[in-house]
């Protein structure tokens, strides 16, 4: 209390430099975030009541309405929706895989269909399995060895990489293009090792693709434990069969929405700062880290400004993007409307790496502007946030790049993220309240400093 009075006195007497004042404001943002459970409870509601909110589902519609109402109750300058069309892919009622070996017996594997995959029939597909690590190996094997078989892509994420997103990039092409590459050589189906650092028995799903002119074959992912088991069995019995059912299906587009709330700028109201996450989440999860957290942190940024009476110079928008996981239609629609409406987008920040401990920011600026933004690190060091790097962005804000907008990513610690990613393990209880709060405070502080100092 005494400290607060002293600071107020110092403020009033104008003793403090602009930099000191900025430090004090950042401290107030962190204090407010760290003593409030509003964001955490909003995330709880979202996770527990709109679980499985893949774009186009009733759950996604509920998430749209929930976040809209949360922002309507916040006395913002405006809250509105942007309508868009999304693909509608529906997981089948039956997803199963069983190894059948004449020498070893039989064993069930935990699998799940990949987003946008075609389904098998209800009685499924059965065939020999051929294990490969990459597309080059597939090419060497050729049609003769692959035709009529189920291709098993089993390259793990490299555990020695500290940057787990880099390790993810090094493995995820199996999921994205595995079915295409396998189908080129006449495969019946593709089964892909879950792209995660964890050894667990949940399949970690994700979207896959097809290519014009190449047959569409079903693609599923198998848990990492299941992949290890299948690989071990294949060593002992290369002739084993896999019986696979995944009767998912694709349907015509349906309507969905981005949700937007904004505080209008005091000085440059037509310059926009976007702070966002994506509202859709995989249907097998609560979507807590991916990306309920990013949405709730974006809303929390506006709540912190309202609570502390901060009126930014520029218009700050919290945006819940729809459909990041399947076809990224929300981000595209947002940029398309920005163009039509002639909006000026100053800066955009995305939080889509989990509600985990914040470590820094990736900043997609260059030259002097980048230098100035990197120098903001000094305000964050007291909070253990010391990794400011060049290069930033995000799937949803990516389309704003064409306007010359500076794109920024919140970078939380990466070691745990892929334990949760796209799996039933991505639940509310895996989010730590303090880590979530620190993330919100970091975003609110960075945007405050950039806007206030016209960086």
């Amino acid at each position: 209390m005494k400290r607060t009075i002293l600071l107020l006195l110092l403020f009033t007497c104008g003793f403090l430099s602009a930099q000191d004042q900025d430090s004090i404001l950042v401290r107030r943002l962190f204090d407010e975030a760290l003593t409030s459970n509003v964001a955490y409870e909003n995330l709880r509601w979202l996770c527990k009541n709109t679980k499985g909110r893949i774009a186009g589902t009733p759950e996604a519609a509920s998430a749209v309405e929930f976040t809209r109402q949360v922002m309507l109750d916040m006395d913002l300058d405006s809250v509105y929706l942007q309508e868009l069309k999304v693909k509608r892919w529906v997981r089948g009622k039956i997803e199963s895989a069983r190894i059948i070996s004449s020498t070893l017996g039989s064993e069930d594997l935990s699998i799940t269909g990949l987003g946008l995959s075609v389904g098998t029939s209800d009685i499924g597909i059965a065939g020999n399995v051929i294990e490969v690590q990459n597309f080059e190996e597939l090419e060497q094997l050729g049609e003769e060895r692959i035709k009529g078989k189920i291709v098993f892509f089993n390259r793990p994420m490299d555990p020695t990489l500290l940057n787990t997103f880099k390790a993810y990039s090094g493995a995820v092409n199996q999921r994205g293009r595995g079915a295409i590459e396998a189908a080129k050589y006449g495969a019946l189906a593709a089964i892909i090792r879950s792209v995660t650092t964890a050894i667990d028995d949940h399949p970690h799903t994700g979207v896959m693709g097809y290519e014009e002119g190449i047959p569409k074959i079903p693609a599923v992912c198998v848990s990492t434990m299941g992949a290890d088991l299948l690989s071990t069995w294949l060593e002992k019995d290369p002739d084993l069969d896999l019986h696979l059912i995944s009767n998912c299906s694709n349907h015509p587009d349906v309507t969905s929405h981005n949700v937007i709330g904004e505080i209008r700028g005091s000085t440059y109201p037509d310059e926009i700062i976007t702070v966002g996450g994506h509202l859709d989440a995989w249907d097998n999860s609560e979507g807590a880290h991916d990306d309920g957290a990013g949405c709730i942190q974006s809303i929390e940024t506006l709540r912190l400004y309202k609570e502390l009476g901060i009126r930014p110079k520029r218009t700050v928008r919290a945006v819940m993007f729809m459909d990041e996981e399947i076809a990224q239609r929300g981000g595209k629609k947002y940029a398309e409307l920005a163009k039509i409406n002639g909006e000026k987008h100053y800066v955009a920040l995305e939080s889509d790496r989990g509600g985990l401990l914040p470590r820094g920011f990736g900043i997609g600026a260059s030259g002097e502007r980048l230098e100035k933004m990197l120098a903001l690190e000094k305000y964050f060091a007291p909070y253990g946030i010391t990794e400011f790097r060049g290069g930033g962005g995000g799937v949803d804000i990516g389309p704003l790049r064409e306007f010359g907008t500076v794109l920024i990513s919140l970078v939380p610690d990466m070691q745990r993220y892929f334990d949760y990613h796209h799996s039933p393990n991505d639940t509310f209880k895996q989010v730590n309240i303090r880590e979530l709060q620190l993330g919100s405070a970091s975003i609110a502080s960075l945007i405050y400093l950039i806007d206030k100092n016209d960086l």
Copy 2:
């Protein structure tokens, strides 16, 4: 693979500076730690099979034998036990607390006895409750207001402190001395808000004390949710009663052990480097973060050296200290025997802040030696470990200070630690394999660099 061959060539040709070679060795330690599940599986065994291993229990004896056997199987130079006497405190079969209010009704609270507390009788204690925040408030109220009542200490940890250990220190005197201070004014018992940042319904226990000449009254802790509820009810009905049962008991000392494994030094075998954690854990938990992780990381340090063929210049000892939680007898015994045996203790490192993401080290050296050790940070920056600070130690290695030994603490991220601390939430599943591995690799690397470069 190609990279390894290139590095080997460079090694052979002597192209690399000592510093480059050290960087390469650190990389190998991290690679080995990150690709092995040995430490994780050892921790799983310890958590699942010796849960509740408070010093003096059969579970603690099992933990002693397990860690001894793990090290016996590692082909170390020696593995042995140090015998010591520990207090034997036994939790009662009944622990309950019920609020009884003539206006509000009744409600159960989640409580548990504090270590070393005397018990209530089997029918318990009932009385009015008086809530205080600190000892000063207690003094102001005085005997008139306190006599015959149950004192409720409800000061929370300060959530705005980023250093949660500092926040813990700011609240934990209620647990340690609450019963003493309350008894001075004639209180019947003390009930203490769990010392944790989490709002949960587990009581977080811990040890408490008594003072000669002041009556020993029972002391229990209540979950933070229970504390909030009790406080709210007290506002509405200051006359409510609390009925408390905690029939724990104190017994004569029993025998237990420290467990030690060592690799003898090649050059200075009589100089000792200790790497340790404590093997005992609260009886209401699996003791995963506190401190199974620290023990297993210490063993893993020796395993990494054996695996990579590193023979340190000095003798490196992994020490599982017994009885950190109750009376710190293991650490005292270790130093006592070191004195009797005329041992030279060069450096001692303790890991007792959880198997969480490592962020840095606290180094209790001074002058030029501190500067040199702090400069090692450059080897750790590639792994995101950038917080090397002066000042270090730990409860178990603390008694070595009198030998002038440099005391070092592994400092993992602190935001989650008190969610687990001394509670049923401290389970194996709360440990992330990569965070545990990174901690082991950090310890092994730091000790390697200090020893190799004679720092």
